[in-house]
């Protein structure tokens, strides 16, 4: 039995017959002498410091080692259970061994050595004869995985029982490995498949053969860094300056371009560039800024809404107050029609239409005694609240001054002088009032009056042209403190109309910015029916003015008072 050759010797003899490559495994710790290695040729600097190092190797039996034509290292590095890179060369205790894939090619090509090209501590690649494989700086190769292909595999059982056709293996590179379940030599590929270690080596050999090895360029990290920086800066700079509507398609386009760039680099040039990191930075930053913007806009919108609500409430309150003021003001003006209902000698109608909620025009009419009617009309300069307040003061003052004296003694000129003094006294805003005051004696039809800068009233008999109540021109009240206002007199004929108005009538504007004017007023007045009442005349004039100014907001307060002496 002892004379029979050992199984090891038989195996060694078989190995010697063909060209076999044996592999060793690198181990850390322990020192067992240098493993057998094929000759290495270095172009450039000593590459040993750059490559993967092991202290020692788990070798084959010496007689098997002697019989093998090639010696390689089988080890790879595993990253989270996935084999991504395979070292093409490794330093084992000072001796450099090529990887299985490299050594197979060396032996198959009949080359006496394998070549390492290094430059200043960086391995540029390995080579066998003319075949140059660029590697990473540490001499490793990113595995360019394909799908697991069962057709690559040949069952060893078939080889052992002789049923395998030798032609299947002729002129092929054959890797012998273990693929049984329960063995630890199974790894995950980058494609997510679990394959035996031997298949990984086979894939490496294939990719070297096909020239489809991958390379992550030395400048890849720089490029990625620059891209990330560029992406980050552009997002943070552009974001506040551009509308989202423009920015989003731009970002999308940039992302797509980056992705295409990365994929193209991989597919066409076999370069590995990490574009996912810049894209992620993009997306994260963009998302963050967008969220920030949306939150801020939401808050802004809420603030604006509550602001608006507050303003609406305030406006409603103000309007409520204004409407109350309007009611008060209109209440101050006398209802002359009812007041004089029972006075048969006087037919009177009056109306004030403020341009805004409250007005600056005033009118008044009351009996001084049983025969004398006092009437007044006034126009405070301006309109709205300031004018309306002044209007109230003026009207009140005027009435109290008129009632102070004996009715028969009332002299409109003197009254105007006194009113001028009184009203000028407390007038910080320097508002002035045009005024016309008159006293009509209902027994005689005589009107004594005074005009302070006001539009001259018109007197007329129906059918004939109206005449102005004349007199010297005097300035409005509060213009000249010491002006000597004078009274004038006019005798009315029976049934004659007296029409007093403010410039809201004559200066009413239409859309073409034309004024109503004296001419139109004259024609309405003279065209009135002889039997018309004061109220009807008033209505006719108001209707005419409104028709003229239709479509336009009134530019001034409109006031009209019509009297008719009917003895």
């Amino acid at each position: 039995m002892c004379a029979l050759p050992s199984n090891d010797a038989l195996l060694a003899a078989s190995l010697r017959q063909g060209k076999a490559v044996l592999g060793v495994a690198g181990i850390d710790g322990g020192s067992r002498g240098a493993p057998r290695a094929p000759p290495m040729r270095v172009i450039g600097d000593d590459p040993r410091s750059s490559m993967r190092r092991f202290d020692a190797a788990l070798t084959n039996l010496p007689e098997l080692e002697d019989a093998a034509a090639g010696h390689a290292i089988l080890s790879t590095d595993i990253q989270y259970g996935v084999v991504r890179r395979v070292p093409m060369v490794a330093d084992i205790g000072g001796t450099v061994l090529p990887s299985l894939s490299l050594e197979i090619l060396r032996v198959a090509s009949g080359s006496s050595n394998f070549v390492i090209k290094a430059n200043g501590g960086r391995i540029e690649g390995v080579a066998v004869k003319e075949l140059f494989v660029p590697t990473q700086e540490d001499g490793s190769l990113w595995v360019h995985y394909g799908r697991h292909d069962a057709a690559r595999f040949v069952s060893a059982a078939k080889a052992l029982d002789g049923s395998l056709d030798p032609e299947v293996l002729r002129h092929k590179l054959v890797l012998v490995g273990l693929s049984g379940l329960g063995l630890v030599d199974f790894y995950s590929t980058a494609l997510g498949e679990r394959v035996p270690g031997v298949e990984i080596h086979a894939q490496v050999v294939e990719s070297i053969f096909d020239g489809t090895t991958l390379l992550r360029p030395r400048w890849a990290l720089w490029l990625e860094g620059v891209l990330m920086l560029a992406v980050g800066l552009s997002v943070s700079w552009l974001f506040p300056r551009m509308r989202a509507r423009v920015l989003m398609p731009l970002m999308l386009l940039a992302t797509v371009l980056l992705a295409i760039g990365g994929v193209a680099a991989y597919a066409n040039a076999h370069r590995l560039i990490d574009v996912v990191s810049p894209i992620s930075i993009f997306v994260v930053m963009f998302g963050f800024m967008l969220a920030n913007l949306l939150i801020r806009e939401e808050m802004q919108r809420k603030a604006l809404e509550s602001d608006l609500q507050l303003q609406r409430e305030q406006a409603a309150k103000a309007r409520g107050e204004m409407e109350a003021a309007r009611r008060i003001q209109l209440g101050i003006l006398p209802d002359v029609e009812s007041q004089f209902l029972r006075e048969s000698r006087l037919d009177i109608a009056a109306r004030m239409e403020p341009a805004r909620l409250v007005g600056g025009d005033l009118y008044d009419c009351f009996m001084l005694d049983e025969h004398r009617a006092f009437f007044a009309i006034g126009d405070v300069c301006g309109k709205g609240v300031p004018a309306s307040l002044f209007m109230v003061i003026s009207k009140t003052l005027c009435k109290s001054l008129a009632l102070r004296d004996e009715a028969a003694q009332v002299d409109p000129g003197a009254l105007m002088r006194r009113a001028n003094l009184e009203i000028s006294r407390d007038n910080p805003e320097m508002l002035f009032v045009t005024a016309f005051i008159g006293v009509l004696d209902l027994r005689t039809g005589e009107v004594s009056y005074c005009n302070a800068g006001h539009d001259r009233p018109l007197v007329f008999v129906p059918g004939s042209a109206p005449r102005e109540l004349g007199g010297a021109r005097a300035p409005a009240i509060c213009v000249a403190e010491d002006f000597e206002y004078r009274m004038h007199r006019q005798q009315l004929t029976a049934g004659e109309f007296l029409c007093v108005f403010t410039d809201g009538v004559t200066e009413a504007e239409n859309l073409a910015q034309e004024q109503y004017g004296k001419a139109r007023l004259d024609s309405v007045l003279s065209g009135i029916d002889p039997g018309a009442t004061a109220r009807e005349l008033l209505d006719a004039v108001c209707a005419s003015v409104h028709a003229f100014a239709a479509g336009r907001e009134p530019s001034d307060d409109l006031t009209l008072m019509v009297l008719r002496w009917k003895p």
């Binding site: 126009d379 405070v380 300069c381 301006g382 309109k383 320097m430 508002l431 002035f432 045009t434 302070a452 800068g453 006001h454 539009d455 001259r456 021109r473 005097a474 300035p475 409005a476 213009v479 000249a480 410039d503 200066e507 530019s555 001034d556």
Partner: protein, 113 residues
């Protein structure tokens, strides 16, 4: 409304007004007008030939400035109002307080007296 000023001579100023002297118009120019009639100016001609509409607020603005100038011993006159503006000035009696002139030479004379 528009307002501009020119200096016609030593201490003699001409203010040019144009537009509608209604509430809005006066609002836009009243501060500038007060500034242009302020001390130490004493002789001021206000050219109102470009004023298309004069309301009571406009009269008040002119009046305030004229009174202020007069208080300092100076004089303010109006120059070349158009017919509408002239009738408003007449009926309100303002023309008795602020002289109205129909030519620049007349205005220069009036304002110096």
């Amino acid at each position: 409304m528009n307002i501009s000023e020119e200096q016609l001579g030593n201490q003699l100023f001409k203010i040019n007004l144009s537009g509608r002297m209604d509430v809005e118009g006066v609002g836009t120019i009243e501060t500038k007008l007060s500034g242009m009639t302020a001390s130490p100016r004493k002789a001021i001609i206000v050219d109102v030939s470009g004023v298309q509409f004069m309301s009571s607020i406009g009269l008040r603005a002119l009046l305030l400035n004229a009174k202020a100038v007069a208080k300092r011993g100076g004089k303010l006159v109006l120059l070349n109002p158009d017919s509408n503006v002239r009738s408003v000035l007449a009926s309100s009696g303002i023309d008795q307080l602020i002289p109205i002139c129909t030519g620049l030479e007349e205005a220069k004379v009036k304002v110096a007296s």
